[in-house]
Symmetry: none
Amino acid sequence: MPTSTTKREDIIQSALTLFAERGFDATTIPMIATDAKVGAGTIYRYFSNKEVLVNTMFQHYVSLFKETLEKDYPAESDIREQFHHLFQGMIRFTNEHDHALYFIKTHTSAYFLDANSRDQFSHLLMILENFFDEGKKEKQIRELPSKALIAIIFGGFLQLYQLIRAGELEASEELLAGVENSCWDAVRHP
Amino acid sequence: MPTSTTKREDIIQSALTLFAERGFDATTIPMIATDAKVGAGTIYRYFSNKEVLVNTMFQHYVSLFKETLEKDYPAESDIREQFHHLFQGMIRFTNEHDHALYFIKTHTSAYFLDANSRDQFSHLLMILENFFDEGKKEKQIRELPSKALIAIIFGGFLQLYQLIRAGELEASEELLAGVENSCWDAVRHP
Amino acid sequence: MPTSTTKREDIIQSALTLFAERGFDATTIPMIATDAKVGAGTIYRYFSNKEVLVNTMFQHYVSLFKETLEKDYPAESDIREQFHHLFQGMIRFTNEHDHALYFIKTHTSAYFLDANSRDQFSHLLMILENFFDEGKKEKQIRELPSKALIAIIFGGFLQLYQLIRAGELEASEELLAGVENSCWDAVRHP
Amino acid sequence: MPTSTTKREDIIQSALTLFAERGFDATTIPMIATDAKVGAGTIYRYFSNKEVLVNTMFQHYVSLFKETLEKDYPAESDIREQFHHLFQGMIRFTNEHDHALYFIKTHTSAYFLDANSRDQFSHLLMILENFFDEGKKEKQIRELPSKALIAIIFGGFLQLYQLIRAGELEASEELLAGVENSCWDAVRHP
DNA sequence: TATGAATGAGGGTTCATTCAT
DNA sequence: GATGAATGAACCCTCATTCAT
């Protein structure tokens, strides 16, 4: 494995943590360089500028998240099972990529995201939209625009995740199961 | 009506929009000045620096929001009615102060908030927490940490409102009523 | 006596103190206005800008100092007596116009002095130069360029005066008499 | 010879000249940068801010001056010889570091000097004070406060040097010897 | 005449980006 | 390829100056 790949990944790792903790604007290139143990100039070998770096990262993690949701999707199971799969996907992704979901959430509507990043993100939403559209057809899901339902679930979950990261809530099995039920009741046909 | 009051309000208006859209760090004083149609120096007649500006605004809007929630609170009605009051409060406040709730949410855990701002905000949370705590005692509300319930409602609602502002959803009576029901089902005792 | 004259003098008084204490560059127009109890704009009724203000003041006090030295000059007495008169003049001026001599000293070679101010100051030096030139003719004064002798006396006295203002030395009769003797020995023919 | 050392020295050189000619407050960082032919930001690689820059310089030159005075000090010779050494030290230091002594004098009681700078400066004064104190004990030096004697010598010498730099006087051996005698007569026991 | 709110040029400082090594 | 010294544009903020009242 060539060194360069490692450096590139070190940079992304450091940038992810810092962007999540401090935000894009409050994170400087020298900070990332120091944290990643590379020279500041080195970052520009891999990313032509700071915006390209965030966008690349954003797309990377959105794409990973999408994969996590799609992997082993129980297309044949009932809708509650599918919902469970999606919800567990959020949790699994969060556990595997510590700051990634928080980074995605806090940068989703940032001014510096390019068309590509926005596209990727709407692809992600589409997975969820398809799920809800299908569910409404089967009268299993509440009669609200799918976008609204996603907003409720996604917005709620990510807000909750912030509390967990801030240490105000502990991510116990019990809590997560309870939240899943709550979210399910929010979207399922009454 | 003295000019100064108008200028101060113009500055706050512009700052609110820009802070909500781009965040504190990405919003420059010249941006605010241009948007408010005042000289950059004028901002410093009203706020001794940028941090005082955000904190003043934060406290102002949190306070206004608290008032909106508390005004005419139906203490004697049943819990569903009270939930309705709170939910309508969010909607009313958002309609009256376009970016304010989003500004509050995205800056809630910012590094530049002073003790006063954090205090004000925890008072606000307490109102909501009390509501949920009371409801749980009466077995009307789901057995989840109140903070988690608040996160779900707020996160969902604000995510939804972004869609509305982006023009992807229309804020019809029907939609809002549907969302309120969805949120209620998310928090009410199953 | 019209009000305006009083205001003008208040401004000069305040400016003198502040310029002496903090220097020209560290003194702001609002500071002077506050100290003089006038509006900032009022200063511009009397002095078209900050540089005109210092230059006017500089010329004013240099001129006053010149008058003090020339008043009752004992043209007929012997040279030691004349030296005494000049030296006492410095002391008297310092007592009558508290910060004036310090202001003159610290601003003598300032970048913002105009030709007029420099002229006035060299007129002042000329009085002293004449004294030394005359003394050298009479073999009463050391054979050094008069400018050098002035530098020694003036430089020395003003440096001393700084110590007095800083509170490091007390301006007793005895000290002043001793310094006068020291200065006289520095310039008199050996 | 590494470039960085040169840049640092260029910055100090330019700052020294400008601080001496215009004073700290009237000297801007861009002025120094332009004069030193470096970018404005470069100054901050070497000095964390403008105040650190003056203080560093102040301490540097005070220290150098002290060394000049102490180097080869004729502790065993008579007091006139020692005075000669000190006086020649002033001349030598001034010739080697053009604006340094004037910079020291005009910034001695500035508001931005830190404890370290003040310390260094009082060490310098102590050397001179010791000389005068010793001389007074031996009845070789006039009975005046040592601080006053220092003020007279320094004030006079620097005022003179300004004339020399302004081209109004030529620094001939003869003149300097004459001035040394004049200063000696100012301080020696009558 | 007197005021002080308003302005914007310019100050100190930071940091994304470049480039010689 | 990797570095970090160097740069200068752009930030936050101050203050001399103007001008409506």
